[in-house]
C-alpha cells in the first residue's frame, strides 16, 4: 500500500528577534528534519510537550505554513512548492480540525454557513444541494437540524468541535489533520469526539494525523505514534509496541509522568528534572540529553539519527544497552 502522506526531512524555522534587515536574527527550529509516512486508513498520532512543534507539523504538511526545507508528498504528488492556486483542488482531499473549537469558527457566521464554506469556496454546487449536504453532515456528526441556524457562541464546546469536524469532512477528504481536537473539551465530552473520529476512520476509511498531548487518548485512538521533542521525531512505532517497549528515554519519561486514573496504581515515577530547553538554542547533540537520566558524554557529540530498532520501530537514542520502563505490562 503506498503512503498517503510522505514527509522527508521537513524543516520549518521561524525567524525571531533581530533588528532591521535581519541582523542578529535567530531561528526557532520548530521542525528540524522530520520524516515519516502516513499509510491510508491509519491514525498516526503525534505527541510531545508544548512547543515541540506538533501544531507547526500539522500546518506545514497541509502547506498552511511554508516549509523551510524538506519535502512533502501527498498521494504521491510533491506539494512542497505548489502554488496556492495549484493546491486548491488538493484541499478537498486534505483537511484540518483545530484545537480550539471556538477560535476556528467564524463568530459572525451561522453553523450552516460555516459547514457550507468548503462547498462555497470550491464551488460547483447549487444552493439547494449545499443545504442538503450540510444537513447530512450535521446528522453525521450528531447535531440537530435546528443547530444549523445557530452561531458558534450559542453552542457548547463539544457541539462546536462537531461543527469543525463537519466542515472538515463535507468535501469527503481522504486525509485529516486533527490538532488536539479534544484538549479544549470537558472530560465527559472528549470521549464523544474520540469515538466519532474512530467511527469516521472505520466507516469512511479516513486517514488521520492526530496531534495530542494526552497519552491515554493517544493510546486509545492510534495505530502508530510519533513522539516529538524540540522539533524532531525521537521515536516512532506501532501504538502497542511503543507502550510495551519504549526505546527512547523521553518516551519513557512521558509515559511515566502521565497520571493513571487508578489510585491503586500509584507508582514510582521517572520524574524529569528541569524544563524543556529553548528551541532557539537547543542543546547540541541529542536535544534531550539535558534532562535524560541515561545521558552519556557521547550524547552531546552529534544528533542521533532515527534508527530502526525493531520492525517498524524507530528511535533516535544512541543507547541500545538500556532497558526502559514500559507503560503497560506485557499481557
Amino acid at each position: 500500500m503506498s503512503a498517503i502522506l510522505e514527509v522527508e526531512n521537513l524543516r520549518k524555522w521561524f525567524p525571531v528577534g533581530g533588528g532591521l534587515f535581519g541582523r542578529g536574527q535567530k531561528q526557532v527550529k520548530a521542525l528540524d528534519g522530520v520524516s515519516f509516512t502516513v499509510k491510508p486508513g491509519e491514525i498516526l498520532s503525534v505527541v510531545g510537550e508544548s512547543g515541540s512543534g506538533k501544531t507547526t507539523l500539522g500546518r506545514t504538511v497541509l502547506r498552511l505554513a511554508e516549509p523551510t526545507g524538506g519535502a512533502i508528498r501527498f498521494e504521491g504528488q510533491d506539494i512542497t512548492t505548489l502554488s496556492r492556486r495549484a493546491l486548491r483542488p488538493l484541499r478537498r482531499r486534505m483537511q484540518l480540525v483545530f484545537q480550539d473549537p471556538f477560535a476556528s469558527l467564524n463568530p459572525r457566521m451561522s453553523v450552516e454557513r460555516i459547514v457550507a464554506a468548503p462547498l462555497i469556496i470550491q464551488g460547483g454546487i447549487s444552493r439547494a444541494g449545499r443545504q442538503e449536504r450540510v444537513a447530512e453532515m450535521l446528522q453525521l456528526v450528531g447535531l440537530q437540524p435546528h443547530h444549523a441556524e445557530r452561531h458558534p457562541h450559542e453552542l457548547s464546546g463539544g457541539q462546536r468541535q462537531r461543527v469543525g469536524i463537519a466542515r472538515a469532512l463535507i468535501m469527503n477528504p481522504s486525509f485529516l489533520v486533527a490538532d488536539e481536537p479534544v484538549s479544549a473539551l470537558d472530560v465527559s465530552i472528549q470521549a464523544q469526539v474520540v469515538n466519532l473520529l474512530l467511527e469516521l476512520k472505520e466507516r469512511l476509511g479516513l486517514t488521520i494525523l492526530f496531534i495530542a498531548h494526552d497519552l491515554a487518548v493517544v493510546g486509545h485512538i492510534s495505530d502508530r505514534i510519533a513522539v516529538m521533542y524540540l522539533g524532531r521525531v525521537v521515536e516512532l512505532a506501532e501504538a502497542g509496541t511503543l507502550f510495551r517497549d519504549p526505546r527512547h528515554p523521553y518516551t519513557e519519561a512521558l509515559f511515566s509522568a502521565a497520571p493513571i486514573p487508578d489510585p491503586t496504581l500509584r507508582r514510582e515515577r521517572v520524574i524529569l528534572q528541569g524544563d524543556i530547553p529553548s528551541p532557539i538554542d537547543p542543546p547540541s547533540g541529542c536535544a534531550f540529553r539535558t534532562r535524560c537520566r541515561h545521558a552519556l558524554p557521547a550524547c552531546a557529540a552529534a544528533v542521533p539519527p532515527l534508527r530502526e530498532v525493531g520492525p517498524g520501530h524507530f528511535s533516535a537514542c544512541i543507547r541500545d544497552d538500556i532497558t526502559l520502563q514500559a507503560s503497560v505490562s506485557t499481557p
Binding site: L96, F98, S104, P107, I121, Q139, L204
Partner: protein, 297 residues
Amino acid sequence: MSTTTQLLPATPADEALPPRNTAWRRFRRHRLAMLGAAIILILVLGSYAGPYLIPYNDTYIDIMQRFAPPFSGAHVLGTDELGRDMLARLMMGGRISLAVGFTAMLISMVIGISVGAIAGYYGGVVGSALMRFVDAVLCFPTIFLLLALAALIDPGVTSITLLIAATAWMDVARIVEGQIRALRERDFAVAAEALGASDRYIVFRELVPNAVAPIVVAATLNVAKAILLESYVSFLGYGIQPPVPSWGNMLNNAQIYLTSAPWLAILPGLLITLAVTSFNFLGDGLRDALDPRMESH
C-alpha cells in the same frame, strides 16, 4: 460511500436560547443614541420630503419680505436678505449637507476599508508602506489640506464631496488595518485558507464582517466629520457656492447680518450642531451596542 448514517447519539434538543438581537436591545437602552437616531431621521425626512410640503421655493426672491424675523408672518422661520424663505433654504441646504456627508463617508469607507484590509492582510513591506503613507497624510492638518486642495480646483458639490472623502479615509484605514491584522492570525482565517479560499474571500467574507462594529462606528463619526468639514469649507467660501444653499454657506452669508438678523446665523448653526452631535451620539451608542464584550450573560 454513504455518509448519511449518524455516528453519534444526537445531542439532546437544547433549552430555549437567550433572545437574539442583543445588539439592538443594548442600543435601545442607550438613550442619547436613540435620541440621536431620531433627530437624524427627522433631519433626513425634513430635508428630502419637507420642500414638497411647504408653499415656498428656496430660490424664490421676495423683495418685499426681506429680513422677516421668525414666527412673524407667513414665513415660519423668517426670510433672508433677499426675502427667500429660511425654512425652504434650510431644508435644501440640509439636502446638500447631508448628501455630502453621507457620500463622503461612503467613499472614504470604500477607500479606507480597501487600503486597511490590504495592508492588514498582507502586512510585510506592502503593508507597512501603505500604513506609513496613511500616517504621513494623517500628520497633515485636515483643514489645511482641504483648503489647499479647494483653492486649486473648481468648487462644487461633487468636488467638495471627493475632497472631504480624500481627507477622511485614513482613520478608517487605520482601524481596519489593525482589526484585519489581528483577525488574520485567528484560527478561522487559517480554516478558510485550509479550505482553499482565495485572499479576497478570506478578507471580505471572513475577516471584514468581524470588524463591522468598529467600521460602523467609524462610518457614523465620519458622517459627522464630513458635515462639519463641508460647513467649515463652505463657511470660508471655498465650498458649495451660492445660490445653491448648504448649511455652511448659509452661515457664511449670515456673517454680515449677525447683529441685525441673528436668526440667519443661528438657524443653520443650530442644525449643524444638532446633526453633528446626533451622529456622534449614534456612534457612541453603536460602539456600545456592537461591542461583543458587552454581551450580557
